[in-house]
């Protein structure tokens, strides 16, 4: 049973007990995540293989374009592995971001009919990306075995970078999700951001390709630190993480997240009227 007690409904008022209410709805959170995961590959012919096809094809294309044609440095690693270790967090980020951004609009029917803390929807929609990530991660293990690369003790730090990618996608995602309800323009903005972002982040090349004096500035893109971090954890010490830049970019993400939640709370009560 959810918590009993008096509820006061008034204009602009969900201030008290906001977070404890979200906690009380944690089961619904799990159900939404479960629903999205279950439904994702239903009625597709290749089913769960899609979670592998996308990163593999991206890996092949980027290896050809950046490795062979542009002859980017490979840091002494096989180029496909270098790319795949970058594609993995990027794919997670982009899947989570696009799911999160569209989540409120695609659940419009629920928003119009049922009450629950609205924040559950965008956050739970990122869980799907986590499942895809896990599947694609298994393939990375296979690839590393093939190339005979063993991860060092750095691998224990991997969850930090995964968390970084998750926070980044949620921070941007809840802004887009809330704005998308009112301005459907963001339906076009998000794919555009993702499309550009793959070139602005070191997905197809190592960030050592960036001149040193721009590295810190480049590191303000939170996905730079995340992708460098993934490579560092998995592929050993030849790749370095600019910790200062990573810390700063995560601070920016946290600020964006806090502002995003504030904005979300300010507009969530009118979702049902506008969506």
């Amino acid at each position: 049973m959810r918590k009993d007690g008096e509820i006061l409904i008034r204009p602009g008022g969900t201030a008290e007990r906001y977070w404890s209410e979200i906690w009380a709805y944690r089961e619904l959170f799990a159900f939404f995540a479960w629903r999205d995961v279950t439904v994702r590959y239903k009625q597709t012919f290749l089913g769960i293989c899609w979670a592998l096809i996308q990163p593999i094809v991206t890996m092949v294309v980027f290896t050809l374009v950046f490795g062979r044609l542009a002859k980017m440095p490979a840091e002494g690693l096989p180029y496909p592995i270098l790319v795949y270790a970058g594609v993995l967090p990027w794919q997670f980020f982009s899947t989570a971001l696009s799911g999160c951004s569209g989540s409120l609009v695609s659940n419009a029917n629920l928003l119009r009919k049922i009450y629950f803390p609205r924040l559950i929807i965008p956050v739970s929609s990122t869980v799907v990306a986590l499942v895809d990530f896990a599947i694609a991660f298994v393939l990375l293990g296979v690839l590393m075995g093939w190339y005979g690369i063993m991860p060092g003790p750095e691998i224990v730090a991997l969850p930090i970078f995964l968390l970084g990618a998750m926070l980044t996608s949620i921070a941007a995602g809840i802004w887009f999700a809330a704005l998308n309800v009112k301005f459907r323009d963001f339906r076009f903005v998000v794919p555009f951001v993702i499309q550009l972002g793959v070139y602005l982040s070191p997905v197809g090349f190592p960030s050592s390709a960036i001149p040193d004096r721009y590295r810190f500035l480049y590191g303000m893109n939170p996905m730079v630190g995340v992708i460098d971090g993934f490579r560092w954890c998995l592929l050993g010490g030849k790749i370095s993480v600019n910790w200062g830049a990573f810390g700063c970019s995560m601070l920016l993400v946290l600020i964006l997240l806090a502002l995003g939640i504030r904005h979300f709370r300010r507009v969530e009560n009118s979702f049902a009227d506008v969506v």
């Binding site: 049973m1 959810r2 009993d4 007690g5 008096e6 509820i7 006061l8 409904i9 008034r10 204009p11 602009g12 008022g13 089961e27 619904l28 159900f31 479960w34 629903r35 279950t38 439904v39 239903k42 009625q43 029917n109 629920l110 928003l111 119009r112 009919k113 049922i114 009450y115 629950f116 309800v181 009112k182 301005f183 459907r184 323009d185 009560n269 009118s270 049902a272 009227d273 506008v274 969506v275």
Partner: protein
């Protein structure tokens, strides 16, 4: 306990019907810029609309209250505020306990998931915990009569099965406050009866606070000792069910005489020029109803007709699912019932008209009504009438004979 004080809800109306309620960024930027230049924008020209204004009432624990009113009287808005889907513009509501609202059965059902999965998903959306759902799972499935199809995706269900399962989940909620909107209009007659029974249990047996919105006066009277009438966003009647319903019916008739058309702003369709006529034919009277459909809805619209007596007892309901009758905007729909005088007792009847297209678009009672004239069925000089003798004028052939032992 529910305590509402000076509750109000304002919507900004948009006169351009092509636009959806969401806006494009460009519009916002343009109107923002012109606001800076102090020019009137379309926002100011749009006008506002109070769906609810100064509504106040108090409902005690365990009370079952019916809420009635026309389309656009503010019923749905009130329910949406009470169930916290939208927030009020003014005023406040205090309520105690867990609130569950059934504003439409089947909300949150996912077509790709199986019946079993949907029961869990929907139950959780409606506010049950997983344990509660598990405990009631068999009851829910049994009530819905879908045991054999539990592991079939619900997109393969017939619409009847779907509705039964959806209602069944909802019917087994156990919140302190239950808010119900028109769910009894689903399924076939037998299932509707079952739903009514279940509602009665909830109201009487389990002693929950129930708010029940319906156009079905008979169901309201059956379930709710107290009724609140809303009109134009305000409370115009509150009290003992029979009295309030009667008062409402009077109001319905008066309003029909005054206003020439009925229009749903939400669904952008309505009818006007509604006329009923009793036409001499085949040695008796035929009833002819006609109405002109207008608005912006595209394509064929199913039209349903219901006849009720003045105290809200249903005499006959027939929807487009049964008749397959459709008409479109810009057309006049004409319904003729031959020899109505043989079917109904003399007296006054109200006609409810509804439009459907995938969902209910509009439902209106009282714009159309008719009165069958005095009739002396047996030639005895005694008048037959619907108030005292019921709506069906059976003309008994009474004979007698001696009993031969």
């Amino acid at each position: 306990m529910i305590l509402a004080e000076s509750l109000g809800k304002r919507y900004i109306l948009q006169h351009n019907p092509d636009k959806a309620s969401y806006r494009t960024l460009r519009e916002s930027l343009v109107s923002g810029a012109s606001r800076l230049l102090r020019r009137p924008t379309d926002e100011q020209l749009r006008g506002e609309f109070w769906a609810l204004r100064d509504v106040a009432f108090r409902i005690d624990e365990g009370e079952a209250v019916g809420i009635i009113g026309h389309n656009g009287a503010g019923k749905s808005t009130l329910l949406k505020i009470l169930s916290r889907i939208t927030e009020p513009t003014t005023g406040s509501v205090r309520l105690r306990g867990r609130v569950a609202s059934l504003l439409e059965v089947g909300t949150g059902f996912h077509p790709e998931l199986t019946g079993r999965e949907n029961v869990y998903l929907n139950g959780s959306i409606l506010g049950m915990t997983r344990q509660e759902i598990r405990a009631r799972f068999d009851q829910i499935v049994q009530f819905a009569e879908v045991e054999r199809f539990l592991d079939t995706p619900v997109k393969k269900y017939s619409s009847g099965m779907f509705v039964r399962l959806a209602f069944s989940v909802a019917a087994h909620l156990e919140p302190e406050v239950l808010i119900v909107d028109e769910v009894l209009s689903v399924g076939d007659a037998a299932f509707q009866q079952k739903c009514l029974e279940r509602m009665k249990e909830v109201v009487r047996g389990e002693g929950r606070t129930v708010l029940f919105v319906s156009h079905n006066m008979a169901a309201i009277r059956l379930l709710c000792p107290r009724v609140i009438t809303l009109d134009k966003g305000g409370v115009v009647g509150d009290g003992e069910a029979t009295a309030v319903i009667e008062q409402y019916m009077d109001r319905v008739l008066r309003r029909a005489a005054e206003s020439p058309e009925c229009y749903s702003t939400a669904n952008r369709v309505g009818f006007r020029n509604a006329q009923s006529a009793l036409i001499p034919a085949d040695g008796g009277l035929s009833l002819q109803l006609s109405l002109d459909i207008f608005g912006e809805q595209q394509g064929p619209i199913g039209i349903g007709i219901e006849i009720t007596t003045q105290d809200g007892t249903r005499v006959s309901t027939q929807g487009s699912l049964m008749t397959h009758f459709n008409a479109s905007v810009g057309e006049r729909a004409i319904f003729t019932a031959p020899r109505i005088d043989e079917l109904l007792s003399p007296g006054r009847y109200l006609v409810t008209v509804w439009f459907v297209k995938d969902k209910m678009l509009l439902r209106e009672t009282g714009m159309l009504s008719f009165e069958l004239p005095y009739r002396d069925l047996y030639g005895t000089g005694s008048e037959l009438n619907v108030r005292h003798h019921g709506p069906v004028p059976i003309r008994w052939n009474a004979t007698r004979e001696a009993i031969h032992a």
